[in-house]
Symmetry: C3
Subunit: 398 residues, 3 copies
C-alpha cells in the first residue's frame, strides 16, 4: 500500500522523490501538491518559492535535475525582470509612457513610426515583430545593431491595430530605450541598482563564477499524444510567429538553440528577452523587492507600480494566436492563464517558469520546472501551486 506523502517514513524509496525545503504552517497543501507531482513523474523537477507579507512561506525543491541552489535559464520570464528596470527608470522620471518613442530615440521615427508611443512599444503593440532576413545571434548580444534595424523598419501592422507578442524584439527595444535614457546597458542598471544591493539570485549577464550552479535547460519530453498534437499544429515557417521567433524558413529548436540560455555567450550577455538565469528564490526575491515589505522600501512606488502593471493589451494575440494580456512588458493573468489576482503582474517562460508579484495578496512567487513542460508558457502545475498558496492565504486571513 502506498503511503501518503505526509506520513512517509524516513529512508523509504518514496522519500528520495519528495521535495525538500520548508513550508510555514497553513501552507502544507502546497508541499503535498508538489510531492504528488514529483511522484507522478520521476523525470520532473521543480523549485517553488512564495513570499507572503515579506516572509518566505514556501521554499521547496524536488526532483532529479534541480538542487536547492541550482540556477537555470528561464526564457521569457526574463522579460519580467527586465521590465523592472524600465519601472525603475519610470520611477526616476526619465521618461513618460505617452511620449513618442522617437522623443528618446530619434531614429525610431523612420517609416511613419514617429507617433508610436513608448506605451505602445512596451505593450507589444508597435508591430515590430522581426526582420525579414532574421537577426544574427551577435545582434542579440550587441543589441544596438538590432535596434538600428528595427528603427529603420516599417511596422508589420498599423500601429494600434492589434497586439502581438514581440517574443525577441521586446528585449531589443527595452535595451535600446535604457541605453538612450541612461547611457548604460539594461544589464548594468539591473546589476548595480537592483540585483547586487539585494543579493537577488537572478542574473541578467550570468557571471562565470556562478557557472558551477548552472543547470542546462532540458528539452521537453512530450507524451506521444502531446507530440502528435504539437506536430499537428506545427505553424508555418513563413508566418508572423516564425518571424517573431527569428526562425523564418526553419524550425524553432527545442531549447532555443544558439539564441537560448544554454549557450554560454547568451547567458553571459543576459539578453533581456530570454537569457536571464536564476532560481525560483531569485524570481520571488525580485518581485518581493518591487512590493517591499518588512524592513525593505519597495523598489517602485505605489503609483509607478500601478502604471507599470495596468493592463494595456488584451485579447487574441496576433503572434501567439492565443489570448494574451500585457501591462508594460509584464504579463497579466487572464482566463487562459489564471495565475493570480487581477492586480498581479509577472511573466512566464517557454519552459514553464512562472513568477509574479500580487499586490492583492502581498505575495511574491517564483516557480521553475525541469525539463521544459508542455504546453509552452506557464506550466499548469505552477498555476495550481499559485492557486493553493492563495487559497492558504485566504484561509489564514479568515
Amino acid at each position: 500500500m502506498m503511503k501518503s506523502p505526509a506520513t512517509h517514513s524516513p529512508g523509504s524509496a518514496i522519500e528520495g522523490r519528495l521535495s525538500t525545503g520548508h513550508v510555514e504552517p497553513g501552507f502544507e497543501s502546497v508541499r503535498n501538491a508538489l510531492d504528488a507531482m514529483l511522484l507522478s513523474d520521476p523525470r520532473f523537477s521543480a523549485q517553488v518559492t512564495a513570499i507572503w507579507r515579506g516572509r518566505t512561506v514556501v521554499d521547496l525543491t524536488g526532483g532529479p535535475d534541480l538542487a536547492t541552489d541550482s540556477v537555470t535559464g528561464v526564457f521569457s520570464a526574463t522579460k519580467g525582470v527586465a521590465a523592472t528596470v524600465i519601472g525603475l527608470l519610470l520611477e526616476q522620471g526619465l521618461f513618460d509612457l505617452d511620449e513618442p518613442m522617437a522623443t528618446y530615440w530619434p531614429e525610431f521615427a523612420a517609416e511613419g513610426k514617429g507617433e508610436i508611443t513608448v506605451r505602445q512599444v512596451l505593450s507589444h503593440r508597435a508591430g515590430l515583430v522581426g526582420v525579414d532576413d532574421g537577426f544574427a545571434v551577435e545582434e542579440f548580444i550587441d543589441s544596438a545593431r538590432a535596434a538600428a534595424r528595427l528603427a529603420a523598419m516599417a511596422p508589420q501592422w498599423q500601429p494600434g491595430a492589434t497586439h502581438g507578442y514581440h517574443a525577441l524584439t521586446i528585449g531589443i527595444l527595452m535595451e535600446e530605450l535604457v541605453r538612450r535614457l541612461t547611457g548604460r546597458s539594461l544589464q548594468e542598471v539591473y546589476e548595480t541598482e537592483i540585483r547586487a544591493p539585494r543579493e537577488i539570485d537572478f542574473y541578467l549577464g550570468f557571471p562565470e563564477s556562478e557557472e558551477p550552479r548552472f543547470r542546462e535547460v532540458l528539452p521537453p519530453a512530450p507524451t506521444p499524444a502531446e507530440a502528435a498534437e504539437l506536430s499537428a499544429r506545427a505553424s508555418s515557417t513563413d508566418g508572423m510567429q516564425a518571424l517573431a521567433f527569428n526562425v523564418l524558413h526553419s524550425e524553432l529548436p527545442p531549447a532555443g538553440g544558439e539564441m537560448g540560455p544554454n549557450s554560454r555567450r547568451m547567458r553571459a550577455s543576459g539578453f533581456a528577452a530570454i537569457d536571464g538565469i536564476g532560481s525560483a528564490r531569485g524570481l520571488a526575491g525580485l518581485y518581493q523587492a518591487i512590493l517591499g515589505g518588512p524592513g525593505g522600501e519597495p523598489l517602485l512606488s505605489k503609483s509607478t507600480m500601478e502604471q507599470m502593471s495596468r493592463e494595456q493589451s488584451v485579447g487574441p494575440d496576433r503572434v501567439l494566436v492565443l489570448p494574451t494580456s500585457f501591462a508594460i512588458v509584464y504579463m497579466k493573468p487572464n482566463p487562459r492563464l489564471d495565475f493570480a489576482s487581477y492586480r498581479a503582474f509577472g511573466h512566464d517562460g517557454a519552459g514553464g517558469v512562472l513568477a509574479f508579484a500580487d499586490p492583492v495578496h502581498d505575495l511574491a512567487f517564483g516557480y521553475v520546472p525541469m525539463p521544459m513542460q508542455r504546453p509552452g508558457g506557464a506550466d499548469p502545475k505552477g498555476i495550481e501551486l499559485s492557486r493553493l498558496i492563495r487559497a492558504s492565504i485566504r484561509r489564514l486571513q479568515q
Copy 2:
C-alpha cells in the same frame, strides 16, 4: 397518448400546465412553443409579451410560480431601463457622449481619468470594474458614496484597451451622471418622466404598496450535468470577474444575496444595475415607449435612439470572457446571443430575463422566466420565442 398542446381538451391534467393569455392570429407558434417548454419542465414558469406596431400580439403567462400580474427581480435587465433615463437626458441635450466624464463630474478626473469620455464609461470601457475591498450594500443604496470611490481610483485597464462588463459599477456610474446633470436621482427621473405617465409595470424603487404582487427570484435548479459543468468552470475568487461582481475572496450567492432584488431594501432602492422590479408586460411596455407608435410619441427621437443603440463595444469581454456587444449601456444582439435584428437594443439578466426594442420589426419584447435559468444571461428559451415572433412577423408581411 399525449395530446398536442394545440388540441388539448379543457379540464385535462395537461391544461393546468399550459399558458394563459392571448396571441394574435399568426403568432400561434409562440404559444405552442411556450406550452411545449412548460410541459417539458413542470418547475418552469414564464411571462412573455410582444408588442408589434404598437399592438400587443403576444401576452402569455404559465407555470407554477408566476401569475399574469406577478412582478419579480430582473437583475441586469434593469440596466436597459436605466439606460432609457440616460437616453432621455441625451434627448434633452443635457450632455454629449464625447465629452470627458469629468466635464460633468470633475472629481472623476483623478488618477489620469480626465480624458475618459461619457461614451467610454457607458459602454463598459473605462476599466472601473470594482474596488479592492468591495462595496458595502449601503454604498449601492446611497450610490454617491460608491461613486466617490470610483472617481478617486486608477482604472483597472488602460482606457480604450478593451471592454468588460461593469456588472455593478455601471449602475453607480449612471446614477452619479444623472445626479450631476439633473440634481435628481435616476430613480426619480425614471418614475416621474417615464414610468408614471405611461403606467409601465416596471419599477426602479419598488413601492411597498405593490409588494403583494412581488415574487422572489428562485435560485437555479441545474441538472447534475449543468452543476458539474458550472463547478468545473468555477472562476477564481481574486480575478477581474470576482472584482466586477463584488465577491472578492468569496462566492457569488445564487440569487444575488443581500445586493439582489430579493432584499426588500435593495428593491426599494431600485439600484440601477440589478434591482429593478417588474413583469414581461412592464419590460415590453418600456421598450414600446421608446419606439412610440399608434397614439404615442416615441420617448426618444430617431436620432437619439440611433446614438443610444449604435454598437460601441464588441468582442471578447475582459470580465465575462465570452464575446459581448454593447451600445450605450444597452446590450446588442451578437452571434452568441442572437436575440433580434442588428438594430435591436435591450438587455438580459442573470436569471434569464430578456427584453428589447427592435426598430427593424417595430417590435418590443419582454420575457421573464422562473426559477433562474442556466446558463446565466438571456435564456435560450427567450431567444427562441423572439425568433418565432420575428418569423411570424416576416410571414405576416409577405
Copy 3:
C-alpha cells in the same frame, strides 16, 4: 492496383482525369497533389498558376468543368483586383489614407461620419455594412446611387469600435472613391492602366467578345454531413451578416443570384465587390504585375505596396464572426487562413478562389476551383497547393 499519378501510362482511364499544363523542375509535388485532388473527386475542376521570380513555375488545369483558357466568376477575389486600382491612385499621390473620406467625398460627412478616414473605410472599419431596405441590383451597376445612400447613413457601429467584412459595400465605396479622385470609373482605370497594357486575363467589366470562354459558377455540392452542418449554423435573416450580404428577410442564393457573376449584366458591369471574371493565370498575372520582375516595372513602388499591404484590421469579424485580417482592402493571411507569408496580400472568394502576391517569396499565385467549394472562402485545397509551392521554393533556395 491503382497506379500512382506520377507513373500512369498514357491513354489510361486515369489519365483523362489528371491535370494538363506544366510545372518546372522542383515543383512536381504541386502537380501530384492536384492530381490526387482530381482523382478523389470526379466533379472537381481547378486551375492553378504560380509565378516565381517572374517565371511561371506552375500552370495546371484539370477536371471536367474548366479548360486551360476558361474564365469564370471569382466573387470576392475581385476585391483584390479592385484594390490594385486603389493602390495605383495612392502611388499617383491622388489621396492620403489618413485623410477623412469626406475630404474627397464631401457628402460622406453626414450623420457624424466627418472624421472617418479613407484608411478606416478601406479596411472594413467604417460600419457601413448595408442599408435597411436592401440595395436593388441596379444600384450595384450604377453604384453612384448606392454610394449616395451610404453617404447619407449613420454608421452601424461606432467608427473604430470593430471591423466587419463589408462584403458588398466595400465595392460601392471603392468605386465612389475612384470616381471622386479621377472622374473615371474604377473599371475604366483598371482596363486602361492595368489590364490592357499587360494583357492580364482578368476583367472588371467582362466583354461580350470573351463570352465563349466564360464558364458559369456551379453551385456547391456539399456532402450530406456538410449540408447538415451548414443548415445547423444557418444565420439569422435579420442580423449583421444578412445586412452585409443584402439578403435581409431572405436567404443568400447559392451562386449569388442576380447580384452574382452568373448574371450577364453583372459581369458586364464588373462590380468591384464580387463581379470580376478571369482565370488563375489572370489572377496570378495581376499580382505578378504588382511585384514586377524580369523585364517589368512593378505596378506599385515598394513603399506603396508596403502601405497597401500592412495589416489594418485583425481579429473576430463583426460580420463573418470568424477571425479575419485585412490590409487596405486586401486580405492578409492569418492563422485560420494561413495561405502565405506574413507579407503576402490578396483575396479569396466565396467559391474557393484564392489569389495573392507574396513579397517574401517573390511569388504570385492564382487558384480557381469549380464547383464552389465548402466551406466558403479560400478553399483548403488552394491553401495546400500554396503551401507546397512555398515548400518547393524553400528547397530550391537551399
